[in-house]
């Protein structure tokens, strides 16, 4: 019983029930108004009809009274009174004595008014107390006589009562039906919402693979469920991305931490004592620095993924910056026995954070030199021509930086992955440096509404970074 009342209470609290109740109430009110109006009008019509008829008969009788003798007139009334029906008559002489008619007495309510009205009377043979309602008008016939012509309206009254009763019953049933329908709709809606709730609760509890069931009906709730599921898909996707990212970060930080620990342990075991400790500490600091570098790179990528650069953005000449950065690496390339070809003209203006773009170019140059050198060592030969080439050009509204090397390249199927956040390709883990170079380049490009693509340099890798040109140069170039 408590469960049922609980269900009713909860259903009544639903939006669906409230809507059903409100519409049922409104419907009932309007139909009551219409029916009331109809009832009133019907009643009016009937009453009017009766009064009209009475007036007609009164006029007729007045005429007869004027033309016939009083005895003949009384006889006529008597004849009319004998006809079974609803007509009522009462004729009395000047002395107040009844001469003819089927009423027992002159209805006082009518006799005292000039225009007539309703009155109650009792029929012969009726049980006492069962009065009937009549309508009557007085007829002016002169000679001290008084005549009242009336109609019994008890039937009309009964009809009106029946109509009233029918409507009341109808309204009752309608109201009940509305409540039941409201409860049913509420229950149906509540049931489906309960399913959605249960699903979300289990998702909140950690089961992100659950989905809200979608029926074939394709109604609003299905639409809601579908968008909830869409949202869940996106969240799950993001969570997986995040998990991958944190796994990568953990891996990137764990390895150098482990190396740091190893070198501290090795130093402690060093039998040489102070000298060994010093070396060990120096190695530890060096490894801590590597760790910090990796950490900073990770942090920077994370910030770039989230950030905007409005405050530090400036318009500058990209060609010049790239030339400068490439020149910074030129001696490094030469030391590695590589040539670095720079092809960057002036006048390509972009609006960006200069330091970040510099960092991106530095990462690209650094990677290019590192991998080209590795390959050159493996082949025991310096590749002919420019091993590393850095180019800047403006093309169809964007500035394009391309850095190409003669290294091992990246297999076509790995290229997409290489640009993902925090992803290090297995190969790069064996290389010195953070291995996050490309991820950072991609983050910098994304931050500036640019893009990065990896191409085959046959052999080697070509990284092409595009950045939007500064607005004023775009119009002139």
């Amino acid at each position: 019983m408590t469960a049922l009342s609980d269900f009713v209470v909860r259903t009544m609290a639903t939006q669906a029930f409230r809507l059903a109740a409100a519409s049922a109430t409104a419907f009932l009110l309007v139909s009551a108004l219409i029916v009331g109006l109809l009832f009133w009008q019907t009643n009016m019509l009937l009453t009017d009809h009766v009064v009209e008829e009475l007036r007609g008969e009164a006029a007729e009788l007045a005429h007869e009274a004027a033309t016939a003798t009083p005895e003949a007139f009384a006889e006529r009334i008597r004849v009319r009174s004998r006809v079974a029906g609803t007509s009522l008559y009462y004729l009395q002489d000047a002395g107040g004595q009844k001469l003819a008619g089927n009423l027992h007495a002159l209805p006082r309510e009518v006799a005292e008014s000039a225009t007539g009205g309703v009155f109650r009377y009792a029929r012969e043979g009726d049980a006492p107390g069962s009065d009937r309602l009549g309508v009557a008008v007085p007829v002016a016939i002169g000679g001290g006589q008084r005549l009242v012509v009336g109609r019994d309206v008890e039937e009309q009254l009964a009809l009106a009562a029946r109509i009233k009763r029918t409507f009341l019953w109808g309204f009752g049933i309608l109201a009940l039906a509305a409540v039941i329908a409201g409860l049913a709709v509420g229950r149906a809606v509540l049931g489906r919402i309960e399913v959605i709730n249960a699903t979300t609760r289990s998702i909140m509890a950690g089961d992100l693979s659950r989905r809200v069931p979608v029926t074939a009906r394709g109604d609003e709730l299905d639409e809601l469920s579908a968008s909830l599921n869409g949202m869940l898909d996106r969240i799950e996707q993001l969570m997986n991305g995040l998990r991958e990212v944190s796994d990568n970060i953990a891996h990137d930080l764990k390895m150098p931490l482990n190396r740091l620990r190893n070198s501290a342990e090795a130093a402690l075991r060093d039998p040489r004592g102070a000298e060994g400790y010093r070396e060990g500490l120096e190695a530890a600091i060096e490894k801590a620095d590597d760790l910090i570098k990796t950490f900073n790179a990770l942090l920077l990528i994370a910030r770039l993924e989230a950030g905007v650069v409005e405050e530090s953005a400036e318009v500058f000449d990209l060609g010049r910056l790239v030339r400068d950065v490439a020149e910074l690496y030129e001696p490094v390339a030469e030391e590695a026995g590589l040539t670095l070809a720079i092809e960057a003209g002036d006048g390509i203006q972009i609006r960006a954070n200069r330091q970040l773009v510099g960092q991106a170019v530095a990462n690209l140059a650094d990677n290019a030199i590192k991998y080209s050198a590795e390959c050159a060592v493996a082949r025991r030969s310096v590749p002919s021509g420019a091993a590393v080439s850095v180019k800047v050009r403006a093309r169809s509204g964007v500035a394009e930086i391309s850095v190409a090397d003669r290294g091992p390249g990246i297999a076509a199927e790995d290229r997409d992955r290489a640009l993902r956040r925090f992803v290090r390709l297995e190969k790069s883990r064996t290389q010195p440096g953070t291995g996050l170079g490309l991820s950072l380049v991609a983050a910098v490009a994304r931050l500036h509404n640019g893009s990065v693509r990896l191409e085959d340099n046959a052999p080697g890798l070509r990284v092409v970074v595009t950045l939007p040109l500064a607005p004023d140069t775009r119009s002139t170039s």
Binding site: N296, L300, E311, Q355, D366
Partner: protein, 226 residues
């Protein structure tokens, strides 16, 4: 130098105080922004080391207040924040240099020493000389023992910065920032290659090397051994 360290992390503050003392400086410590500001306003310090995130009054507000009062004491801002715009904000607030945590103490020391030196009114020196190495800032000519040395423009600026800070450690990051104006990590030690090229031009063939590598810290131009 008298240094005021405004830093709320006790361990860091203590470490800085001790290390600065060992490096021949004296250091006071303030644990929050308000105390730090009051100390900086009443006492004369040669340099302020201000952490960005401080209780009561944040580091940038401390620096802004001092600058508005006309205080020109060099300020090194320390920050654990790593936002792209943070450095710009720090310098805009009136900081002279900006260092992101975690940092190497040698880096911090080199920077405050360079800042302290900057505070000494620099009579526009037109000529730097270390031993027999002379750099003429007007003619952009460099000679060693009277012999001219041909330098690339970048090498010239590298040497100029090193000689301006002669006798003091200059870190790789400082070189990257001041000679190249790059505030990012170049991944590999590109600076080493540039310095070794410079060294081969100015020290090669001479008995007394002038451009020294300071282990774990950076470089120093100095007449005589370290």
């Amino acid at each position: 130098m008298r240094v005021l360290v405004i830093e709320d992390d006790r361990e860091t503050a203590h470490f800085l105080q001790k290390s600065l003392k060992e490096s021949g400086h004296s250091a006071d410590v303030a644990g929050d922004g308000e105390t730090g500001l009051a100390m900086a306003q009443t006492d004369a310090y040669d340099i302020l080391i201000v952490d960005r995130m401080l209780p009561k009054l944040d580091g940038l507000s401390v620096v802004k207040t001092l600058r508005n009062e006309g205080d020109r004491t060099p300020v090194l801002i320390l920050s654990a924040l790593g936002d792209v715009d943070d450095r710009v904000k720090g310098l805009r607030a009136g900081g002279d240099d900006y260092l992101t945590k975690p940092y190497a103490y040698t880096e911090l020391l080199a920077r405050i020493e360079a800042l302290g030196r900057r505070a000494i009114p620099e009579e526009q020196e037109t000529r730097y000389a270390v031993g027999d190495l002379v750099l003429d800032r007007l003619s952009h000519r460099v000679t060693r023992a009277g012999e001219p040395i041909q330098l690339q423009p970048r090498e010239y600026r590298l040497l100029e910065y090193l000689m301006k800070n002669a006798g003091q450690v200059v870190t790789r990051t400082m070189l990257l920032e001041n000679v190249w104006d790059y505030h990012f990590d170049p991944q590999t030690n590109v600076i080493d290659v540039h310095v070794s090229r410079l060294r081969s031009k100015i020290d090669k063939g001479f008995d007394r090397p002038l451009l020294h590598t300071v282990r774990g810290a950076g470089y120093m131009v100095r007449d005589g051994a370290l």
